[in-house]
Subunit: 248 residues, 8 copies
Amino acid sequence: MNKKELTEILNMVANGKMTVDDAMLRIKTKPYEDLGFAKVDTHRSIRQGMAEVIYGAGKTKEQILQICTAILDSGESAVLITRMNEQAAAYVSKHIELEYDEVSKIGIAGTLPQTEKVGKIVVATGGTSDIPIAEEAARTAEFYGNNVIRLYDVGVSGMHRIMDNLDVISTARVIIAAAGMEGALASVIGGMADCPVIAVPTSIGYGASFGGLAALLSMLNSCASGVSVVNIDNGFGAGYLASMINRI
Amino acid sequence: MNKKELTEILNMVANGKMTVDDAMLRIKTKPYEDLGFAKVDTHRSIRQGMAEVIYGAGKTKEQILQICTAILDSGESAVLITRMNEQAAAYVSKHIELEYDEVSKIGIAGTLPQTEKVGKIVVATGGTSDIPIAEEAARTAEFYGNNVIRLYDVGVSGMHRIMDNLDVISTARVIIAAAGMEGALASVIGGMADCPVIAVPTSIGYGASFGGLAALLSMLNSCASGVSVVNIDNGFGAGYLASMINRI
Amino acid sequence: MNKKELTEILNMVANGKMTVDDAMLRIKTKPYEDLGFAKVDTHRSIRQGMAEVIYGAGKTKEQILQICTAILDSGESAVLITRMNEQAAAYVSKHIELEYDEVSKIGIAGTLPQTEKVGKIVVATGGTSDIPIAEEAARTAEFYGNNVIRLYDVGVSGMHRIMDNLDVISTARVIIAAAGMEGALASVIGGMADCPVIAVPTSIGYGASFGGLAALLSMLNSCASGVSVVNIDNGFGAGYLASMINRI
Amino acid sequence: MNKKELTEILNMVANGKMTVDDAMLRIKTKPYEDLGFAKVDTHRSIRQGMAEVIYGAGKTKEQILQICTAILDSGESAVLITRMNEQAAAYVSKHIELEYDEVSKIGIAGTLPQTEKVGKIVVATGGTSDIPIAEEAARTAEFYGNNVIRLYDVGVSGMHRIMDNLDVISTARVIIAAAGMEGALASVIGGMADCPVIAVPTSIGYGASFGGLAALLSMLNSCASGVSVVNIDNGFGAGYLASMINRI
Amino acid sequence: MNKKELTEILNMVANGKMTVDDAMLRIKTKPYEDLGFAKVDTHRSIRQGMAEVIYGAGKTKEQILQICTAILDSGESAVLITRMNEQAAAYVSKHIELEYDEVSKIGIAGTLPQTEKVGKIVVATGGTSDIPIAEEAARTAEFYGNNVIRLYDVGVSGMHRIMDNLDVISTARVIIAAAGMEGALASVIGGMADCPVIAVPTSIGYGASFGGLAALLSMLNSCASGVSVVNIDNGFGAGYLASMINRI
Amino acid sequence: MNKKELTEILNMVANGKMTVDDAMLRIKTKPYEDLGFAKVDTHRSIRQGMAEVIYGAGKTKEQILQICTAILDSGESAVLITRMNEQAAAYVSKHIELEYDEVSKIGIAGTLPQTEKVGKIVVATGGTSDIPIAEEAARTAEFYGNNVIRLYDVGVSGMHRIMDNLDVISTARVIIAAAGMEGALASVIGGMADCPVIAVPTSIGYGASFGGLAALLSMLNSCASGVSVVNIDNGFGAGYLASMINRI
Amino acid sequence: MNKKELTEILNMVANGKMTVDDAMLRIKTKPYEDLGFAKVDTHRSIRQGMAEVIYGAGKTKEQILQICTAILDSGESAVLITRMNEQAAAYVSKHIELEYDEVSKIGIAGTLPQTEKVGKIVVATGGTSDIPIAEEAARTAEFYGNNVIRLYDVGVSGMHRIMDNLDVISTARVIIAAAGMEGALASVIGGMADCPVIAVPTSIGYGASFGGLAALLSMLNSCASGVSVVNIDNGFGAGYLASMINRI
Amino acid sequence: MNKKELTEILNMVANGKMTVDDAMLRIKTKPYEDLGFAKVDTHRSIRQGMAEVIYGAGKTKEQILQICTAILDSGESAVLITRMNEQAAAYVSKHIELEYDEVSKIGIAGTLPQTEKVGKIVVATGGTSDIPIAEEAARTAEFYGNNVIRLYDVGVSGMHRIMDNLDVISTARVIIAAAGMEGALASVIGGMADCPVIAVPTSIGYGASFGGLAALLSMLNSCASGVSVVNIDNGFGAGYLASMINRI
């Protein structure tokens, strides 16, 4: 159930088109569904305006299916699943409708309503290897109804690649900069853009990259203003936040 | 020179009210003023919509004054100085107009134009000791023309303090959550709010807080969506970004 | 041999119902059994009131069986084995009675005496993926004769889930809070409960969770009083300590 | 106001000895006092059974006095202040009654009610330099009405010192083990005692002790069961928790 | 060629029993054999009194065989190979005489001369899982002609196990203490013994043991004097040094 | 296209031997080829004098082939591929000419022009296990037309091995020192040589080597002047830089 | 004594212009002067072509003077002292000729011979606060006879400042890039330049810069080729190496 | 009381020259003196052959004096105090005989018996700044009756300084190698010596030395055999252990 539906119910009550008892029945389901191993947040779209998401890592394929079903049954039209492996995708798609992308490991169960995409979120990467994380961000943002422009492999070792795309950067409403290794991309874009930049350190690299720590520290210390950081490899978090900002 | 001024000049040229040469003269100052020890970015309000800021730490009082003067001379009406110590404030205020706040160590040189404050940015802290950082954020946001609501000492060890302020949280456009120690405030607020939350880990704590590292890691790993993180004690960065988002 | 049995023997000696020599024979087995690769602590239930436990990781299935047998032979009725893999469980159960749980990797060899369960230990988790660690804690506590209430998937990103269970929390004698990622659950519960909270950081998470380090530091820095911490993923330690406190 | 007082009021209402209105007046103060810079938790002794405590570090002497006064005014007879420096103690004692201990930096404002001390909490240290932290723990426990036995300088480099005190250890209800350097004391005591052991790593040491990190890690990895850990130098936390367990 | 052989040759020259040219021929092989991928130190037993050792990890089985052969050809009667996997052992033993131990992964190529074992080196472990590292130490010490006494599974969680063996500890010339987790064994033994203690942190443990880091830091910070530390899991290094000290 | 070719074209234009239009056609390809997943830098040899290199890790074999082809098509005669696995090598070599080395995982697609090798770059290693990284450096340097001398297994535990090669060291123009474990080789060579030393920490080691961190820190703190450091295991970076310096 | 002087002596001997005994007298001073607390390397300019340097930190002013005198007495015309505090400078300048710079803390004792400066070393900084380290590098390079161009405050948050100086960067023979915070300057310059770039992380920053660690890791992971790194704040090392490369 | 004295008493009893009661009186003082804040180990010279030592850091001057007196009163002729500041030395020397060295911060209270110094312990340092730590080691070793040879400032950046002293190294019975920065000295000496090498990392250095961590890791990873490590700056520990080994 989302905010709009709730408002409609309340209006019908106010207008005498629905009895209080009927409204109670429709509204006062518990704000979460208790599956034992999980308490599924079925009121999140009311409370936070964006539906519950399933973090697929560390859940069995049966658990993912159960949670999907619970969310769809609560009235959501679609549900996003992140870090979903191929086995889980194959299993879930046997039981319910599922669109799955192997690069980003993102699955979408149910049917996305056709709405007009708004704004302009730019998703940039330093290199080719950062693309899976960037796609997680991009597809999350698209799931929530945003226009996304991809700008891949524009790392600072070849500055002309990013200089060539200054117009894309200067017209964005939000930019997601995903980079591993030294993560300088976030600072460079942050210095050029006049919109919020969400930096996503990736675990791409070796040696003293220490699994993304180098990029993380680099981004946290960015000398450019307007840059904030999410967890290493957290493409979903970046996409979700970008949508929040874009749709503000 | 800001965007609006530039547009006016260009319009006058377009309308024949100003010759190209005169426009050239007024526009084509170099985009930065080279003071030797610093290259002051005098075009930043054109390029990024928000004027250059002086990071006071590690600069002598003479350097701060020189940079202030250069920026004000370039046409800005006011300039923000962060991490300004009291000696520097006393020195600068002898030469130019300066408003200085001892708690946040923020100075404002020149005169802030009276503009209507927009939106609603909530600045929350876990404890009393986080207030200096929170004030740096709040005053930065106010400098850039935003309404700010302060919500101090609402840490998670006494949940009723934050529960009591749910309405403030649920009506915010952006929230800044500054907390040291375990930094759980960001996650708890992130779970309640439906707007972007900017988490500022502070260096408040002792022992295994490791100068703010515990709060930083905690915030980066936040299980709540819509939370992003800036550097430890980076109140300015949070306030600047909050303004960007609020004014989007 | 446990404390009660020892007291009985000594009383019989005091009452002349047993000769000193017979008592000597029954008591003065060595306080540990030396198996070469291990010195099994057969007097621990006398010394510490709780029987020896086998940490299964890093031991061969043959070693586990040998130690089990030595403990059971020393007079214990049951022995707890933690971190026991399925191969070891299959092997040991061929030779002696064994109850094995795949989720928590806990095995119980021998027969648990039917005693009345006492007190109320609450075991809470932040998410679904923390359940294996929580179950290790819960089953350990049950092994030592405690009542356990499970409260799973009540992480702080959806505060209403925990608010809904305030009564469970406020009536507990001890609470175990197992959480990965930012581990804020321990602080939030610690701020609500008036009993000891044992925090168990789990290695659930990715990126800057650094294998549970983020949750560990977060919990150590908890702003709530009454919270103490055990090693990352140490469900057994939490369950054992909870039992000690509950049965004090 | 504490639990006992609240129960008395409610009983008087039930017995007709107090009107509902009078009861309302006495009870329904807000659960916290908002001082602007702090939200003082005046209901904590009702909610958690132990009164609010003031963490003195990072607060001005004026702030400490204000919070003290707010708590005493809310009906508590005494309030504990930790990490209080000598300047603050001198200042506060000019305005209200204060007992101050220089070693532990603990102050007690108001008057402790004379109650019978219960149980037996043992506070042990590895060396002489750990005493300030141990005293913070001991005095906190005494503040909350517990008997405390001090066992100082019994580190493992001279095992006979601790062996000589086995009786003290084996008859304790809770033990606090404070040690810096390698922190082995917690494991050794944990292996001897049959009660909960609260390990407090201290920042005593140099070089690879890294400000208490070595002791912290050592204690978290204790091979003895029944040991849990609080933050480095967190004597207060240990004393508070020990009281909770002892008074369970 | 070892020191004794060299002395004999030089004496024969001094006594006229060998011509200078013949001596030259026998002595003046280069101090190392260059195999391209390795420069085998064939004079080490002259220079340092103990023959070259092969660190098997990261070398192919063919490389190990080649180096073995080079060393044996240079006049050594036997050569020690550490961290030798079973494939390499099977391969080498097809070509030259090899004694291989699966637990410690130690191989001995050639024939150890029958010499009287000297001194008394005690090798102790905290637990059963530390045995492979302890065996690497013990077998290394035996290879170099020392008497070794094994004292396994005497960790501090059951102090009576080590107390029972005080005589073994107090009569040792050198003690090797191998322990993972919190590594307290080294300090406890160091506090009892009056001989050098070589501490070997092992990578046994989980969570905050961080691959042996906790034990390493603990041992470096030992409050007992006479304790020094080698690398995590470096059983060979401990055995080699123990031999050096014992044979001084 | 490289600098020389560009100069020739421009000279032909200057001499009237080529029309401006023809020159434009040949020069003004975009400075990078956009393959979607990658923006291949086809002007790098003009801009930086050394052709684009493909970092093979994290790219599919199809991507590697596509990028190779794009570079070769842009006019380069050969392209270097680092960290290329054997599957990728097999696949690429089916479609284009490829020379592949299994030890260093380096592939060279196309045909290296026969040019005279210049200068003298010495590549030294501490042990046998460092050779793969050293070979990556050596082959990279050879690819760019430098003479390379290999000096393997000259670690400081047998100083005579390096003393024996003082002449090689003292006549080098650049030295690459690759070492794991404690990485002392860089300092020792740095103290002997009078040319730049590029230190490459390797991840060879165990325990407290922490994946090369020990060697990295050691090399960064080198007391010898003239030493600089590249990332752990970054043989390519060392070879590339050595070539830059040698050909200056 | 430097290489040139030695060659002259040897030539005079070869030509019969100097007797072997006289040459012996002039050459065969010991290669170092033993001052007890220090062994001064008086032959370094022969062995490595660049004279001994005094690292002033941690030495008393008397020790610095003694070492200066020993070096000047051995025939050097000037000696460089780094990290010299003002007290030491005042003291030394009373006894011998000394030129001292307060910003870089560099002193030069004796008289620099007037030689023609060669090449072009560019020293760039990210901000104003990095200047002291940059000056240490610049003055070191100048001491060894190199031309130095300073390019200060060109950090990546204002890319136009560096773009404006592309010609300076593209004509350098060596570039030193000193930056704190996220250290992105090294990568950006590395991507533009076709000469070796020496990256100097500085300790400028706060919070998660961890004393320069963030910049250090960032620079080690630079995606640009041709970049190597020296220790945090090691301006001297960068200047020395730059000179070595420039004068190759 | 030391071992020799105890043996004498026992012999007198055996020979009838002393009654059992008198012997009891002289021997059976408690093995430690309890001063409240400290339990002074007065039997350590019996148990471990080397008298109790006072670690001065973190003790007040009054505490040091009290412990000194207790030890001297128990029959020791002299007592070693480490890390004693000048104030404490001045205070103690007013009351009892004290020899104090400012460089090493070592004090010796009482009178050292004139005994013949044995063996040969070499104490080497990498630089001048390591001398205070080295002196702590040297004076400790001398206190326990060992001959000590100092070999200062022989770091690996000038290998000839150490090569010149090969004879000193090759004739030592134990070597202590104290070095900061990269700590390579321990490996280089370890590769040359045929006796145990005790490595002492010092906190000398800056930047990525991280307070001695770089040297510590370097020494733990030493590729030379026979090297073990004590804590950063632990000169006392090294001197004590060296004495133990030398006097074995």
